[in-house]
Every structure is written in structure tokens, then in C-alpha cells.
Symmetry: C2
Subunit: 146 residues, 2 copies
DNA sequence: CTTCTTATTGAAAAACATTTTCAATAATAT
DNA sequence: ATATTATTGAAAATGTTTTTCAATAAGAAG
């Protein structure tokens, strides 16, 4: 079962109707290898459903985010970029050249958290880790574009 | 030398003039123990300089950020909160109750990065780690406010 | 297949955050 | 004291996201 069908299933299970505009948006996001801005999602969705409205994009993004299907990717300049969600202990690794973003599994930060908790008195409940770097292609070609 | 004087010095060294509105903004931010939104900085600054304009707040925030004196703190809902900058390998630990944010030193992620680099082909150049939790006060009082 | 209910849609307007423009002001060097 | 020029606040402009609302269409029920 591919990601698009999975997302459609989750939406249906939560009482959402599957419409043409939603299909267009889902297709764009589910198959994207880099984080997209709402505006980009809008532009790309118009390829498969030209009549789509930007408002619908925003509403669908909110829905998908609430259902845990997509997630925000944070960068220095902002955090309005969206990607298929990470699962469990996965985190994003963003290429600063082309924007291609992959997930990497796991991190053993237990020891660090224990040290911080005893040192600060805080109780750590959540963490947020993101890496930046260059993907193999960008390193070879030395190019920088989005 | 306290933080306010340090910041003033850095500004002066970079050809910036020290004005009353800037002093007000600097004081608010340099002494804050939680991350503030531009609008909050504006409100708080008016206490010591009532005539200040929101535009000046935005301009000064940009200046301070460019000079590395303040930094953005990211949260689920956005990333427009500002705090005195972390140094070196410090990272933020944000209390989800009251917002109080402290810095913790160091993290030995070298091994993790090496594993990721060999596994993915990416070259990791930068990382971004932020922790969320509850400070001792909030845990005791079980209260949640900002 | 038809009908009904109601979630969803797009356009327009509103709300909100941030930036730009510009003439007046004031910090700093001389 | 004077000159230079960075800085200021008000107003306007910009850009993004949300709300409102009547029309539409998805999916359930018959």
C-alpha cells in the first residue's frame, strides 16, 4: 500500500471526504522529497487540479498536520515548510543545497537527557533534532538551487 | 560586565548608534528568561520608553539577530520567539508550562553524525537541537500559564 | 439509482504580521 | 558648535493566513 492510499485511508477513517482538490494536494505532498511551502503546494497542485483554491490548500494542510500525516520542517528563516511526517524516533536531515530532505532513524539521547535533568531540575518530555548538510549530488555538482 | 553593556558594546563596535528605543529593547531581551515575540518585546519596551514604535522593534530585532546577540526559538506553533543567543554548543531547553527557557551545554553527537554520514552519503554540516520539558516550579505547582 | 445530509469548496473580505517609504530627528564624529 | 548620516515613528504597502458565506458535491441512506 503506497503512501497516497494510506493517507486517503486515514482521512476516510476520520470522516473526511475525498475530493479532487484533496487528491491533488495529497499527491504533491506524499511524493515530495523536499519540504514545501503552502504556496508551493498550491502551485504544484494546480498541475493536476487547476481550479484549486489557495484556501483549500491551507485547510487541507491543517487537516493533514492534525492527523499526523505531515509535519513542519524548521529552518533558520522559518518553519512553514511541510513534509511527510517522521515516525517514532526519526528526524529530518535537510540538504542546504537542493532542499532534499531524508529521514534518519534513531538517536540515543537518553544519557544526555538524564544528565540535563539532574543538572537543571527540569524534566525533559520532548526533543526536537534536525540536521543540515549536503546530499551527495549537491556535493559533487557544487550547485545550489531550490 | 553585564549582558546589556556587552550588547551595547557590540552594537557600537558595528557602527550602530545607541538610542533610547534601542536601550529599552535591549534591556527587555537581555534580561528575559523566556523567549519573546516581537509584539511582546514591543509591549514590554514601552514600559521604559513609551513612545517606541513597533517598526523600531522589528528593525532592532533584525540587527540584534544579525549580530548574533539574539536567536530564534522554535516551537510547534511557530518560530518567531526570540531569546539571548546560545553560545558554542549550547542548546535551549524550554519549559512547556511557563515558557522559561534555559541553556544546556554540550552534546556529543559526533558518533551519531558519523553513522548518519556513512549511512546516507550526506555530509552533516550543522545541527539543531531543542528540548522541551517542565521546570521545577511548574512541576510542583502543576500550573500552566505564560 | 435517487435523495438527503452535511462536509467541502472557491471567492471575497478580514485579520494579522512584517516590510517599505519618507520626512523629521538625534547620535556621534569633527 | 556644526555637519553628517543612522535612526526614528507614522502611514502605506506587502505578504500570509484565516474567516465568512453561498454554492457544490461526497458519501450515507433508502
Amino acid at each position: 500500500m503506497n503512501r497516497i492510499d494510506q493517507w486517503v485511508k486515514v482521512l476516510q477513517e476520520n470522516g473526511c471526504r475525498i475530493t479532487a482538490p484533496r487528491r491533488a494536494i495529497i499527491q504533491v505532498l506524499a511524493e515530495s522529497h523536499r519540504a514545501l511551502q503552502p504556496n508551493e503546494v498550491y502551485e504544484l497542485s494546480r498541475a493536476s487540479y487547476s481550479g484549486i483554491g489557495l484556501v483549500t490548500v491551507y485547510r487541507t494542510l491543517e487537516r493533514l498536520e492534525n492527523l499526523g500525516l505531515i509535519q513542519r520542517v524548521h529552518r533558520e528563516d522559518g518553519c512553514h515548510l511541510l513534509m511527510p511526517a517522521a515516525n517514532g524516533h526519526e528526524h529530518y536531515l535537510v540538504c542546504t543545497g537542493c532542499g532534499r530532505t531524508i529521514l534518519f532513524e534513531g538517536d540515543d539521547l537518553g544519557a544526555l537527557f538524564a544528565r540535563i535533568e539532574s543538572g537543571t531540575g527540569y524534566r525533559v518530555s520532548d526533543h526536537w533534532l534536525q540536521l543540515f548538510g549536503t546530499c551527495p549530488e549537491c556535493r559533487e555538482m557544487g550547485q545550489t538551487h531550490n
